[in-house]
Amino acid sequence: MYKKTLKRIASLVLRYKFSFALSLICAFLYTLSSLAIPLFTGRAIDHVISEGNVNFTALFSSLIDIALLAVLSFISSYVMARLNNRISYLVSRRMRDLSFSKLSKLPLSYLDSHQTGDTLSRIVSDIDNLSDGLILGFSQLFTGIMTIVGTLILLFNLNFILSLVVLLVTPLSFFVASFISSRTNRMYRIMAEDRARQTECIDEMVRMDDEVKIFHGKRNAEEVFDKINEAYAASSFKATFFSSITNPSTRFVNSIVYALTALTGALLAIGGRISVGLMTSALSYANQYTKPFNEITGVIAEFQNAIVSASRVFALIDEAEESTEGESEIEEAKGDVTFSDVSFSYNKNEKLIEHFSFSALSGKHVAIVGPTGAGKTTIINLLMRFYDSDDGKILLDGRDITSINRQSVRRLFGMVLQDTYIRNASVRDNILMGRNFSDEEVRRAARLSHAEGFIERLPNGYDTVLSDESSALSQGERQLLSIARIMLSLPPILILDEATSSIDTRTELLIQNSFQRLMQGRTTFSVAHRLSTIESADTILVMKDGKVIEMGSHKELLEKKGFYHELYRSQFA
């Protein structure tokens, strides 16, 4: 899991081979210059021995060398940092693009069953964590490794035994680091989950602010939030603290290395095998050698957090997509719709629609009625390929809709739902919904759907920017707007799911006239509670508990004196 995630991050980074290689070269030059500056400083000092014993010409040439190295170090470190930032942000940009384009390919069943807050947290905070981790990782890892190699070479040049001590003991710090990190990994995961839960809670409480106010539910909401907040504080404390043990622990190992070097060096010096000066240099190199270990292990905590976050994002990206079965396009359709022995359920344990067969010819009006929760919307989910049937076929002009590409199917439908969704865009763009029409046509559609009145009353008319959250429009006005959307393009099949439930009957009557005109020659499926609006339907499907229990025209159904008859009478009670 961990390794797999790491590999995938690497493959994302390696898309930018050139920048990556250049960053490595810069890391090399930077390490080289930062190792060489002390060396040249030492040489410079050798020219400054005592009073009257200073070799100024040699000193100046050393100073010039140091200055050149300083320039090299400046340029290489800046270029390296720029490249590392660029690569990290490119990676996070790509991950966001991939995640977002995933969103549009996920099946509705995934989106219906997952929390908005959790998905949001993956795309926003988790990707942020990843890019922060990458930047730190790049800038410390490579220079760290090169510093280690560089100092080792210098050490071996000084004394073999001393360098052996350093070389053999220091890897201990890596063991310590990986020991701790394997244990803190789980804590980071818990922390990320708690964070997602918190995002969810905030999202919910902000959205449902009205309910919270009405029921004086503040304290209740606060209790729920505080509990989650407490859990997050605890898990983030644990993860931060335990991962921050890494750095002091490795530093401890390094201090032991330092003590051992001092011991070995001193013993060798007593035996006269090395000079005191050489021992001092060895000690300072031992110090320099261990420093990158510190830095690398210090970064590990951040990096771990990043990897956990990345794995959450990858999980989203890897989610199974809506099947793309159905290659063929369909441009125009007559609108003959047939359900042939269709079975479907949302989950395997609860059977819903079973062996349903039914056929609507082009231009016919099919109404679906039934008590709340009878599964009326399910029919629509299937028709528009939001969900695919488990068994049986749905035919459009005789063609199996699963053989036609989803987008192409959906384009044939004009849909008005009970809960109208308003985009964060102008009124005009909300009517256009990405299609190409002139202003005049937009106005005409608004006029026909009786939306013109309230649109003109908005502060900026057609240019007023709306959003789903704002309370600028009432439910009814939202529905008028979504009716205008389909008035614009006139697709061959209409789906009206409680399309006028929030519109007053006077306006509805006016719209009905436009609808009548609209429905001519178009197959229409409508769901309605006001039976008066569907009496003229060619066929009425009466549904209960997911099943179609009666089917026929208004007159036939009334004569049958069945469930429909009961429903019809009750509205005048």
Binding site: R82, I202, F252, L267, V369, Q407, I422, P459, G476
Partner: protein, 563 residues
């Protein structure tokens, strides 16, 4: 920060202790060289090396303690700020929330808070240590040789200046980064919430394209912001390297004249190097702090928002006029057209008020004013003889409950949703209100503890409406407002519901499109374009109010004829 004074003092203190311990190490090594090796004293060398190990162990425990306190302070701090932020958001009026925008509140609570928490943690760990080491090294340098140490006096202000400069320059850019991140978040959210409509219009590709553009803009701003902030490290290193050259040059002159020894020069250069090492750590920290400061600013701007909604303190009732609107006018924003104008009516305790009118006639706005989700622009709304503004929040919620047009439920269970309105409700009370709301049948099937997803997504529209009615009935408020909240119910269920509701002793306000809902009302308000055009009983209005009779006959035409 106050409540964690202990942690905030202890964390840096232990860090200082750690740094001090590190300063001992060179002294020990010096004594190994000066005594141990010179005197060939092996036991002494062993003792000193053990001392080094002991120092290391002590350093380990001290620094773990420091990490403990800083992690603690950071997580507690962020917990408390989040809690304060949450309470602030809860206290804001609806008008305020409309203004600020929901998506941005969420980023502030989440990604901004993360940055702040990280910032506090790192600051406590490093911020004191670094200046301590820098100034410590400088002071040590002055004790070595005042004249040569003048280089330090130039270097340190220069370093401070450049660090401050880069911070000041990058802060506004980080602000822009966060603003662009908000945009990315809000588009993502939109696509999750509006997925059906977006797919019905096959807008996936267009949305992807728009997202790519916004994400690209975010990327460019991130790079632009980092361009400045990453200069800190190279520039400070360059200053240090130049200082070393200056030290060598001036030091060489001083050595030549005999006022400085070679060993002292080495010491000076070592101190300069120590500063360099500390600054590299500091440079990484500065970026974290800059981001944290920016986020802290965004958070405090929410915390400093003034709520436009202030509750009073009263809870006693003054009269039997349950609802009285006294020439009320209201507009959603100061420039907009009035959504309600000159509304004036009274409802007695126990009466049923019907409100009917066209789409956009102001029915929902009227409901929002009764429950004080918004405040009036002109006039006064009185409940039981007292201005709504004078009631305490709790008293107001006991007096009036609204069932909203759009039924939404909280994540949890059916039970937890019901308990939301009445914390100590018994199962019997819950079942009773479910029965009144005609929700008993399906709840019996699922059970009271059946899970409810956020917003009630796993329930049908009708089930949501019935549960939200049950929730309101359970509250048992004196006034119950139903804002067109049975639109997803079929006529049969709705008429049963109405019969049950009329048995309650609450004052009822029924807002509907359906004339059938108005038949039994004691008083019916007919709204049109934000004004009351008629007021009376069904029979009167049928005769006198053309709008009302038109509404009625569009719905009952056939029935009338057949009777």
């Amino acid at each position: 920060m106050k409540p964690y004074r202990k942690e905030c003092v202890l964390a840096p203190l232990f860090k200082l202790l750690e740094a001090l311990l590190e300063l001992f190490v060179p002294l020990v090594v010096a004594s190994i060289i000066d005594y141990g090796i010179r005197n060939n004293d092996v036991p002494y060398i062993l003792r000193m090396c053990l001392l080094l190990a002991a120092l290391a162990a002590l350093g380990l425990s001290v620094s773990i303690t420091a990490q403990y306190f800083s992690a603690k302070a950071a997580s507690l701090y962020s917990r408390d700020v989040k809690a304060a932020l949450f309470r602030k958001i809860e206290s804001l009026g609806k008008a305020d929330l409309d203004n600020v925008g929901e998506a941005t509140l969420i980023t502030r609570m989440t990604s901004d808070m993360n940055l702040v928490q990280n910032g506090v943690n790192m600051t406590l760990r490093l911020l004191l240590r670094s200046p301590f080491v820098v100034f410590g090294a400088a002071i040590m340098a002055f004790t070595v040789d005042v004249r040569s140490a003048m280089v330090f006096a130039v270097t340190i202000p220069l370093l401070a200046l450049s660090v401050a400069l880069f911070m000041a320059l990058s802060l506004p850019r980080f602000k822009k980064v966060q603003a662009l991140l908000d945009k990315v978040l809000s588009r993502t959210r939109e696509n999750l919430v509006g997925v059906r409509v977006l797919r019905a219009f096959a807008l996936e590709e267009a949305e992807e394209k728009a997202f790519r553009e916004e994400n690209g803009a975010l990327y460019r701003m991130q790079v632009a912001a980092s361009k400045i902030s990453i200069l800190t490290n190279p520039v400070t290193s360059a200053i240090i390297n130049l200082s070393i050259i200056a030290l060598l040059y001036f030091g060489a002159i001083n050595v030549d004249t005999g006022s400085l020894s070679q060993g002292e020069l080495v010491a000076l250069i070592n101190y300069m190097n120590q500063i360099l090492v500390e600054l590299i750590k500091l440079a990484n920290l500065i970026i974290t702090i800059t981001k944290a400061l920016n986020s802290a600013g965004r958070i405090s701007s929410v915390l400093s928002l003034e709520s436009s909604l202030e509750y009073g303190k009263e809870s006693t009732l003054l009269s039997d006029d349950a609802i009285a609107f006294d020439h009320v006018s209201f507009a959603y924003s100061s420039g907009a057209k009035d959504a309600l104008s000159d509304i004036d009516f009274t409802v007695k305790k126990g009466e049923v008020l019907g409100v009917i009118g066209g789409t956009g006639s102001g029915k929902s706005t009227l409901c929002a004013l009764i429950s004080r989700l918004y405040d009036v622009k002109e006039g006064e709304v009185r409940l039981f003889g007292r201005n709504v503004k004078d009631y305490s929040e709790e008293a107001l919620s006991d007096i009036v409950t609204v069932v909203l047009q759009k039924a939404r439920l909280f994540k949890g269970t059916i039970r937890s949703n019901l308990l939301f309105s009445k914390k100590d409700a018994t199962d019997d009370e819950m079942m009773r209100s479910l029965e009144i709301a005609r929700a008993k049948e399906f709840v019996d099937k699922k059970g009271l503890d059946a899970p409810v997803e956020a917003l009630g997504k796993n329930l049908s529209g009708g089930q949501r409406q019935r549960l939200s009615i049950a929730r309101a009935v359970l509250k048992g408020a004196r006034i119950l407002v139903l804002d067109d909240s049975s639109s997803a119910l079929d006529y049969k269920t709705e008429s049963e519901l109405r019969a049950e509701l009329s048995k309650l002793d609450s004052t009822l306000v029924i807002v509907s499109q359906r004339a059938s809902s108005m038949l039994h009302a004691d008083k019916i308000l007919v709204l049109d374009d934000g004004r009351i055009v008629a007021c009376g009983r069904h029979e009167e209005l049928l005769k006198s109010c053309p709008i009302y009779s038109e509404i009625y006959y569009t719905q009952f035409e056939k029935e009338e004829k057949s009777v």
